[in-house]
């Protein structure tokens, strides 16, 4: 097909009569032609520009948005972590300042990072966060694996219903579910009342404000995250492999260890990540359910920020947290997806 001017399917054919006969008509025709030509040329240029650069109209809005409001904030956090605490608003000094003779001065204060090492609260809460997240992930796995396995083995209709039942709590408010759990394990809550009524115990159990409550909260909140990816891999499992193992004389548990477990590894890793990552930075659960000694890093950050109003130290804690924990996790995920693609 013959393409018109500048890639547009419109030709510059002269508009034909009724303007042709008189002199005024001819002049009008010329004017009309010029306008027409300009419009066609501009349209053509726009189309050409859109063809070459049009994709940036789509790419740039999300790219710029996330750049400005997600990535660049980390730069500000790094900057403020190197500043000093000040009494004015905002409560930190500027690290870049202009001296009277127009020299730009950079005043960096690494003291905040040194402080993280001298005060052992930070190191301990890092370790405590990792420990709590690790063990709650393990318990979630121990509870979630049989659940996912049972769902994968039920009929198609039952599967759909069970999946819905597992997903539904994920849509309802996280905060309210933690609050609901508090209603059960409180000193005057349902569990203690029931146990007292049954005569199993004579004094109410102290569950709230203990480590046990924190674990319970994390498991209760993040169990669906563990079950769903596990189900996704277990459902795809080829059942004939298990039959083959049985035919070759494997005991059921042996077949499970040799066949099912290795094949469901991607689901185990995905589910563990989905529980471990949010659990490690958890703030709501240790604050509402935990006691004063359940110092997880999220709580320390919050207190540093709102309680002590020490923004530079809080920024330093956040940056260190990022480098020590989020960095390795992101790298691990990056390489594991590359391995899967390969």
């Amino acid at each position: 097909m013959q393409r018109g001017y500048a890639g547009v399917d419109e030709t510059l054919a002269l508009p034909t009569p009724p303007y042709a006969c008189t002199r005024r008509g001819r002049r009008f025709r010329l004017f009309f032609w010029c306008t027409h030509a300009t419009i066609v040329a501009m349209k053509g240029a726009a189309t050409l520009w859109m063809k070459r650069h049009g994709k940036w109209v789509i790419i740039l809005p999300p790219l710029l948005y996330l750049l400005v409001f997600f990535l660049i904030p980390f730069g500000f956090a790094l900057k403020i972590s190197l500043a000093d605490t000040a009494v004015h608003v905002p409560p930190f000094t500027d690290i870049v300042s202009m001296s009277p003779d127009w020299h730009v001065q950079l005043t960096l204060n690494p003291g905040n990072f040194k402080y993280l090492f001298t005060d052992e609260v930070y190191g301990l809460s890092y370790l405590y966060s990792i420990k709590t997240a690790f063990f709650s992930t393990l318990i979630c796995l121990a509870l979630g694996y049989p659940m996912a396995y049972a769902i994968a083995r039920s009929s198609k209709t039952a599967q759909n219903i069970l999946l819905l039942v597992i997903i539904l709590p994920f849509w309802t408010s996280f905060l309210l579910r933690v609050y609901a759990l508090e209603g059960i394990i409180r000193e005057t809550g349902l569990l203690n009342s029931a146990l007292l009524w049954l005569g199993v115990i004579h004094h109410p159990l102290q569950i709230m404000r203990t480590t046990f409550a924190v674990y319970l909260g994390i498991i209760y909140s993040y169990l669906p995250f563990m079950v769903l990816p596990l189900f996704a891999t277990l459902e795809k499992l080829d059942h004939s492999l298990l039959e083959a193992a049985a035919d070759l004389g494997s005991a059921p548990w042996r077949a499970f260890v040799d066949v099912t477990l290795p094949l469901s590894m991607p689901g185990i890793i995905a589910g563990s990540m989905l529980v471990f990552i949010p659990a490690i930075g958890e703030f709501v659960i240790p604050t509402l359910l935990g006691g004063p000694d359940n110092l997880m890093i999220g709580r320390v950050l919050w207190d540093e920020f709102f309680g002590n109003r020490d923004w530079p130290v809080a920024s330093a804690v956040a940056i260190a947290f990022l480098v020590l924990l989020v960095g390795p996790i992101a790298l691990y995920q990056h390489y594991s997806t590359k391995q899967l693609e390969a």
């Binding site: 049009g54 994709k55 789509i58 790419i59 809005p61 999300p62 790219l63 948005y65 996330l66 750049l67 409001f69 997600f70 904030p73 500000f76 956090a77 403020i80 509870l143 979630g144 049989p146 396995y149 049972a150 769902i151 083995r153 039920s154 009929s155 069970l162 039942v165 597992i166 709590p169 849509w171 309802t172 408010s173 905060l175 309210l176 579910r177 609050y179 609901a180 508090e182 059960i184 409180r186 005057t188 809550g189 349902l190 009342s193 209760y220 169990l223 669906p224 079950v227 990552i277 949010p278 930075g281 709501v284 999220g298 950050l301 923004w311 809080a314 956040a318 947290f321 989020v326 995920q333």
Partner: protein, 276 residues
């Protein structure tokens, strides 16, 4: 492979589902408790629901959260869809790796860190440009950032499996690329757009940590009000509020899921009819 699962497996499944649901059911039951003492059953009453309607603090916060949720999820669906199109359709462009990273990072980033860094950004921006003041605007900006990531992931997977032949056919018949996309592919990914809108809405409605950091005086979202009430101790009207929200969200998700599954099934049937 439907065969009978062992009784042990079934017991653990029931135990797990019990852990997930018992607290919620107990909460709903207690919200109808006439007594303000939590452990004592004082008879059936809707007293706390009536009190809730007259609690201006909670109503204002709920209204603010709803407004934020609607704005956030709409903007996030637009931005996220654009990002998904960029990642699926344009294989090579400068900044692709950056965009991929920024789309995946919010999913592994602890909320508390995102919240702190965004607060520091807003404070510095206010210092430099005199905008934005902390409140509605800053909460919306911060929520859009992490919701966009979730929308992108959802739409991206749907877009990858979408059939491009219809779109190419439309382009052969003379549609421009944008027109062709809107006429053919957009209806196909509409369920993904709807579910990611819902997801953004609930994420925004539920967010406590990021909102607490970036909001200013006078702008308290519903989770912030609930959190401060819960921290002080038990208040029976929170029971009523929680039951209301949980039932409302549950019903919405069930209806939305039902509608989406029906439209999906119809689409599959249509596709089968077209093949014969």
């Amino acid at each position: 492979m439907p065969d009978r699962a062992s009784p042990l497996l079934m017991t653990i499944l029931c135990l797990g589902i019990g852990i997930l649901y018992v607290p919620i059911l107990v909460l709903i039951a207690y919200s109808f408790n006439a007594s303000s003492l939590v452990s004592v059953w004082g008879g059936f009453s809707t007293h706390w629901y009536v009190q809730l309607v007259h609690n201006d603090q909670i109503l204002d916060a709920a209204w603010l959260s709803l407004q934020i949720g609607v704005v956030v999820s709409t903007v996030a669906v637009i931005l996220g869809t654009l990002a998904a199109i960029s990642l699926v359709r344009f294989k090579l462009f400068r900044g692709r790796l950056l965009l991929t990273g920024m789309v995946n990072a919010p999913l592994v980033m602890p909320e508390i860190i995102t919240g702190i860094t965004q607060l520091l950004l807003f404070v510095s921006m206010l210092h430099l440009f005199g905008w934005p003041h902390r409140g509605f605007v800053t909460i919306v900006i911060a929520h859009v950032a992490f919701c966009t990531a979730y929308v992108t992931i959802t739409v991206q997977s749907r877009l990858q499996s979408a059939d491009r032949s219809l779109e190419e056919a439309a382009m052969d018949l003379g549609s421009g690329p944008v027109r062709a996309f809107i006429d053919t592919t957009l209806p196909g990914i509409a369920p993904a757009l709807a579910s990611s809108w819902l997801l953004s809405f609930t994420l925004s409605l539920d967010d406590l940590v990021i909102s607490s950091f970036v909001s200013g005086p006078g702008a308290s979202t519903l989770p912030m009000v609930i959190f401060s009430k819960v921290k002080l101790g038990v208040s029976p009207d929170v029971n009523a509020l929680a039951s209301l929200i949980i039932c409302l969200v549950g019903a919405c998700v069930l209806v939305a899921g039902y509608v989406m599954r029906r439209s999906e099934r119809r689409r599959v049937i249509d596709a089968q009819m077209a093949q014969h």
